[in-house]
Symmetry: C2
Subunit: 334 residues, 2 copies
DNA sequence: ACCAATTTTGCAACCGGTTGCAAGCAGCTA
DNA sequence: TAGCTGCTTGCAACCGGTTGCAAAATTGGT
């Protein structure tokens, strides 16, 4: 295969400089948007660069500019398809800004320190937590990695002084309660994931407070303990075993994964309980589930998160409104 | 909060050197595993480094060593939960080797050139394609990004001279055919994803050839065109509409996402058709589907892929055996 | 055609590490 | 104690860019 660049290495600014008959500094300027350089030499340089297939080395640039354009994406739960939606959004938006996503997998809890340190060494400009188990301990850790701004996406939390971009969980909870009320139900339940999450508190809070306005309280809170379909199934299964025919008519599950598990358990028992999930994962649309769910405004959330890490002083938490997606699972007759 | 390192910047080797009373080169050596340095000074340096919270700047190291330890992970289909399993495996294994994953999202087809170029500029050491639509065009592109070894994971292909680590799709197809035969079926179908994939040819090939031994041929090949649950549903739905009661008894779907769609369509029509999927995604285990599937040996595949990119000359393609996971969907009576 | 204002360019120094070389400094033998 | 060997260490140079400064070149006004 013919190869213009015979040497077995990438060409550098100096190579281009030689070919274009200018200094390497001029080459650098040619690749700097509003640098002081004549139109003439810029063209000359770009032509030479094109000929050699030259592209600036972003590591070197990062080193001298003290800005890597690498963003660390912290992920801890690779079981939930919802994470994939988030990852898709984040990587796309980053790439459009000429930045790049470095995925930091902390699902193996005991390695999270090591991984975050590693990210720090790679000079990530910022950290974005695509949250599930964002524990206080973890935040603490992130803070000790000084100089790095970070933001939590999609997870309400009551840890103060933290940049959190999330769905307006309270309103969402209310909206869902309202939806179920209009279906004429009178006995309500809720299913939560991990104990330590303050997210479900917000969703639950909205749900509960709306019902309270009609003097209804949430009679059953099923704790799955994890965001895990199997757990959702198991906890609903045992609830139904324990309660026989004396069960709630409608249940709001903290997310779709749990909701799908719950639906299967309900189906297994041949019961009818309305279910509403959260996240609107693709599978919610499967006819087996037809799961009514709440779509988080991922694009806005991610956009906002990027804005925050770019401008650390203007940073502030936000709660953005999402939207209910109606299917069949919330109805009283299916 | 008290802060040992008052200056608002990360401390460098020079800072450590000053504190430890040695030269910055000695500091560098202290952090190089088998460097020539006395036990005494190494300890002195490490102590000082610890005090300042110093960790080597990996970008700078990458620059001088001409090795970034950044691996580009090319992903193009963020709808399939299976990708999350792969990402989990890849990131974990990379992190354990002190490498890091840079996710390159090429799902927006027209931006793939730009993204791959970007990765090149970030000096990725290698590219790993977590494949769905690995087109020839894309490979071509990857090759023009010279100097970078790359490997395709989880996707058979007949493009020659390419490092491909995949499941042994032919054997898998045979195994599945065998399984279905033992259930006593005599009319068989197959559902494929994207037209251009040579993967399904391999799975199909194994399936078909095994059936052929009993003089049975695959009477229906449903082409979904995409790896997409909705498409899987649609294509099965229209097949059943077209064929009334005259349909296949068993169908092997190229992956679980398609299989789940197919199952829903079958259920909608109140028919009984055995279904086998591929990938063994978590949802295959949901009672709504109880999908019999084939588990790819992801950990081995990824481990092998990393081996290949580390040692480009020893590189070679491999096809690793996976394992059938039996549930209910393949049975003749459910 | 001359001079000041402005643009363009080259250079030294730097970002934070690593590497090859040579000098420094043991420790050991004779 | 000189002489040799081998381990440590400091130094200059480099990886591939960027930045501030000052010199060079261009522009424009008269």
């Amino acid at each position: 295969m013919p190869d213009i660049n015979a040497a077995d290495r990438k060409s550098t600014a100096s190579d281009v400089a030689k070919l274009a008959g200018v200094s390497k500094w001029t080459v650098s300027r040619a690749f700097t948007p509003k640098a002081s350089i004549s139109q003439h030499s810029r063209e000359k340089v770009l032509k030479a660069a094109d000929e050699l297939g030259y592209k600036p080395n972003l590591l070197a640039r990062g080193l001298s500019k003290n800005k890597s354009n690498i963003i660390g994406i912290v992920v801890d739960n690779f079981e939930n398809p919802h994470k994939l939606m988030l990852l898709n959004e984040v990587t796309t938006q980053l790439q459009n800004k000429a930045k790049i996503a470095m995925v930091l997998n902390i699902s193996n809890a005991n390695s999270s320190t090591r991984v975050l340190t590693q990210a720090d060494q790679f000079q990530v400009d910022a950290l974005i937590f695509l949250g599930s188990f964002i524990t206080e301990e973890l935040i603490e850790l992130a803070i000790t990695i000084k100089h790095i701004p970070f933001v939590v996406v999609g997870r309400s939390t009551d840890i103060t002084n933290l940049n959190v971009i999330s769905t307006d969980d309270i309103s969402a909870g209310q909206e869902i309660a309202k939806l179920l009320m209009t279906q004429g139900f009178s006995r309500f339940g809720f299913m939560s994931g991990p104990e330590s999450q303050s997210t479900w508190l917000a969703r639950f809070e909205g749900y509960k407070s709306y019902l309270a306005k009609s003097n209804i309280n949430v009679e059953a809170v099923l704790k799955a303990g994890k965001y895990d379909r199997q757990r959702g199934f198991a906890v609903m299964d045992s609830y139904l075993i324990d309660h026989g025919d004396d069960h709630v008519e409608a249940i709001f599950c903290e997310n779709d994964i749990l909701a799908i598990g719950a639906l299967d358990a309900i189906k297994k028992h041949g019961k009818k309980i309305a279910v509403v999930g959260f996240d609107n994962i693709e599978l919610a649309n499967a006819t087996s589930f037809a799961l009514t769910s709440y779509r988080q405004p991922l694009n806005l959330m991610v956009a906002q998160a990027l804005k925050v890490i770019e401008d650390p002083n203007a940073s502030s938490s936000q709660q953005l409104p999402g939207k209910l997606v109606l299917r069949n699972s919330h109805k009283n007759s299916q």
